[in-house]
Amino acid sequence: MMSKTFIRTVKNLERSQFEILRLRIMAFIFALVAGGLFIIMIGYNPVELYGTIISGAFRSKMAIQATIKIMIPLLMSSLGVTLAFKMKFWNIGAEGQIIMGAVFSSYFALFHSNLPHGLLLLIMFVAGFIGGGLWGLIPAIFKTRHNTNETLFTLMLNYIALHVISFLRDGPWKDPGSSGFPKIARFVTNAQLDKVFGIQFGWIIGIILVVIIFIYLRYTKQGYEINVVGESQSTARYAGMNVKKIILRTMILSGGICGLTGVIQSAGSDMTLAASVAGGVGFTAIIVAWLANLNPVGILLVSFLFSILEKGSSVMQSTYGLSTYSAAVLQGIILFFILGCEFFVRYKFVFGNKGGARS
């Protein structure tokens, strides 16, 4: 008697690098085809539209600069959450950590803007790191002391952070110059990040961070500890590691890097503290980090591709007068296939009774 199931999934851990690459390329092609069908359905030429996405992201110096600008916060916060994920600490609170980093640094940007420029920026970065780090540390403390669930905890802290901004905007930090409509004042030039090649210098920090995190995870004792703790806490304890200390330290770093993202976004792109400073980046970062398999160099690549898609589809949208929603649907379709591909990397389908012992 054989099982009647016609199709089923089997865990597949034996794929070679080459096979995985082939799968990914195939997923990409499928994504283009499916997206193309959607474009035809709404009455446009897919080749043209895809062309616009690519050219839209690169067509001019300004477009390239805008693409990079989108990429900076995504890259940095992905690196931030990667540290926590390596430790199997499910930090989905990058949003909140970005916001708190921005809030802490904005205090200096708003109220101590007469400090010398270099010193002011330095203080803002330190403050941003502390703000984000603190927001990462809180769930870690509760996790190590009371074994709370960090997923829920970090998620909830996102909302608290959002409300902290609203509170500041409507009350203590409200711009007296704005009549009625509550907002926080624009940062003076002295508190804004300088530009390098026409883009705020956050991109340099992002690239430096890629190198640092890569080295940190692979070649330092602390990185090694993160890996061991992520694999098994009891093994780490057996090896004489101070597991609590490692969790706390790593979450300060993870949150701190997200905090830096907040500084760069507020003082480099928004020039003010807006409630949208994180704007979902902290969640996208989770996808980016996993797609890149928690590899910093991979994160650089994936976040670049994400920002091309983002920038390109906004250009496509305005060129063809598409609605925001159709651009979002297209993005969704492409993401669906790319993420779906990861399923095939880890599992495979077996049809009927094939794949047995017969050679």
Binding site: M2, S3, T235, N242
Partner: protein, 511 residues
Amino acid sequence: MIERNIENYAIELKGISKKFGSVVANNSIDLDIKYGEILALLGENGSGKTTLMNMLSGIYYPDGGTITVAGKDVTISSPNDAINLGIGMIHQHFKLVEAFNAVDNIVLGTKGKYQKPKVLKEKISEISNKFGLEIDSDKEVYNMSVSEKQTIEIMKVLYRGAKILILDEPTAVLTPQETEKLFRILRKMKEQGSAIIIITHKLNEVMEISDRVAILRKGNLIDTVKTCCTDENKLTELMVGRPVSLKIKRPETDNKKTILKVVDLSVVGEDGREALKNINFKLKRGEILGVAGIAGSGQKELCESIAGLMKIKHGAVLCNKENIIGKTPDEIIDLGISMSFVPEDRLGMGLVSSMGMVENVMLKSYKKNKGFFIDKNPARKLSEQLVKKLEIVTRNVDMPVRMMSGGNVQKVLLGREIESNPNVLITAYPVRGLDINSSYLIYDLLNEQKQKGVAVLFIGEDLDVLLEISDRIMVLCHGEVKGIVDAKNTTKEEIGLMMAGRSMEGADDDE
């Protein structure tokens, strides 16, 4: 009469091969087993036993070859297919739901209509009576001993109507009494016409239970012999490829000085009960102190308290007269106290399964080199040395240890501990699941350490081995020391009585 009745063959394998990358785990294996027969599968660590059986239970696909079950050609592409063909496998890692009771675990995943617990229980007790299994239907799995869990696993397979049973090293974690019980069940099943394949490294068990023995070496089937026409020495020779002496040495050392002194140690275990009760003993340089006792008598807690991993209720552990209670595991490692515990799931403690040998070897020593960065070179060199010295089978020293065969994983663990040049070497169940050759390699290594003046605490299961290798034997029962005896002047019976709870005169003299 027909000479070869095809119906009698439960399984026939022809030309079965399986490769993992460049490693040939199974090379064109031909093997068969009849209903009403017990076949033992014997082979060194990494010879491909588990892989071969995993292809029968639907976990791996063969790269080539044919499988015939009950005379029909079949393809087995999932554990479900295997069950539908009447093949059930008991893996080393049990797959039970801890929070469920016995009945729920047994029926979990079976198709068919909902049935009242009472009906199910009757059905189960009917099967139990038929094969002599002892099952407490309402007991939750987390309250069960290893042996009870194993019985549930067997019941799961029988409940699904399996006529072919595969057991992968079922006795590695059982006490001798539990093993006897298991064997009684297997014999009953055989009488009822089941086909049974059992993997074990213990030759006495092979001789006792099997009808035939199939020997694998480096992925090849070397020979299949009738158990009645062979003996342990011949089997070892077939398995290893050369004659091996089955005698354990007990070298004499002088200058035995107490290095570790345990005073009135009491520990509360995870379940809230007192796991160690006022333990007192001394461990000397240049000796092997064996620890005997049925599983769960406090062995784990003893190891973990000395290694600084457990909270102590009261008492002291003195290392060179310095109390180490209250020190962190880190500081205890620095004192030269090395502990290696091979748990029942083998990988549980001491190794990081996704990392390669190099990163595992440096687990306890990575802090030694100064600075912020890690230096993998010494660990790499050491790993390569260990591969040679302990004959570890691995593609390279960076291959994740979870891909290694069970025995090789253990060699990595023990090798690391010995290479850390300890003063005190605590090792629990170091040969669990190791093949004969590797076991003797480990015994030699322990003796080598002893001769270097290391104090060795050897927690073992096999009384014969303990009696041969130890200088003194301490017997634990329900967390109490029932006595410490001179290994040369004691008998297996005496130890057995103490394990069951009788107290004896001590041999724990000073200096």
